[in-house]
Symmetry: C2
Subunit: 195 residues, 2 copies
Amino acid sequence: MARDSKSKYAILGILTLAPASGYDIKKYTEEIISHFWHESFGNLYTLLRRMLEQGLVSSRTEPQSGKPNRIVYSITEKGRHAFHAWLEQPAAHEILRSELLLKLFFGNQLTPDLLRGHLEAFRTWQLSILEILQAAQKELDSEQENAGLLFRKLTLRRGLIMGEARIRWADECLEALAEENHQNHEVTNVPTAGR
Amino acid sequence: MARDSKSKYAILGILTLAPASGYDIKKYTEEIISHFWHESFGNLYTLLRRMLEQGLVSSRTEPQSGKPNRIVYSITEKGRHAFHAWLEQPAAHEILRSELLLKLFFGNQLTPDLLRGHLEAFRTWQLSILEILQAAQKELDSEQENAGLLFRKLTLRRGLIMGEARIRWADECLEALAEENHQNHEVTNVPTAGR
DNA sequence: GTCCTCATGTAACGGGTTACATGATTCT
DNA sequence: AGAATCATGTAACCCGTTACATGAGGAC
């Protein structure tokens, strides 16, 4: 087994839906599945050529005038097999590595203001993602029943649930910090006040 | 700037709390912050030596009989500066890449049984993590007020909230799939039954 | 006039994982 | 007897990012 590229399977999966160029695949990741996946042009193009050599995909060049040629890839039988074999395999445990959490963990070495700034930036960022997902959901709801619809909805649902949870958490943190700050002020400003 | 190792800052952060060996640091990540961070021995040892060269840490070798020598690292002033500079920097947006979501997205190419299997495996895994976190929370609650306590609690809280959300989501998915399956059976088993 | 979209590519680089080696001691 | 803990290290390797190059056509 060793380790093999997840990108490879993402590409195969997308080619399962329709033939596509590298550019198309990039767009697809950005527009449809950006809430749980991303690809860079860099290894997209490199991978596609490698996969061609391995016979997982076939290619056909579409000449265009004025623009560079489009290289449209299709999944082969071999590619389909590889994809399905992967699909059946249990999903690898996601490795988690959150820079924000790391900073927060060492939060007592940071000024309250900067800390709050980090959390608020995170919050607003999550909020903006949520809005995009909500719009996507509306669109999906108005779409008519089709093959992959349920699964698109379920993955979207994940994005929404997690986004909401992240915002709830950020709010909790901000509250806790505000409270702590408040207490500190009471203590330092009115140290021996009547009790 | 370019890109520099996040591991580096995790290490510096941990050394901020107390001098430690590579082995100690690994243990710390596993026992205390595993819910949002992880390190492998591989680059831990490589990084520590590089950081020594860069003057971010200093080292002292503790001879031991029977066991290999312990190399205990301490953070230097330069290291502290680098760490604080990083702390103040806004946290990079987490890149998301979920293999499970990817499989689910292409779920209509998978048998319902396998699909359910994936989701249930995910669910039970998340549940086991939750239990660990809950135990950790109980421990933290009984600890007396100290410097980093609030922040440990806040990061733990994140793990709990997210874990619960993931489980809720998995349940939703399993329900949705069961329902769909049920409908399909009705249709295929009693195709023209009275209505 | 400048920015965005379309479209493909390459080279550098490095961050991190995996797998291996070594070996005494202590727990089950 | 065997597994786990302690403890450090190295070498392979590759996955993926970033940055660059090229260039036409259309939008604003």
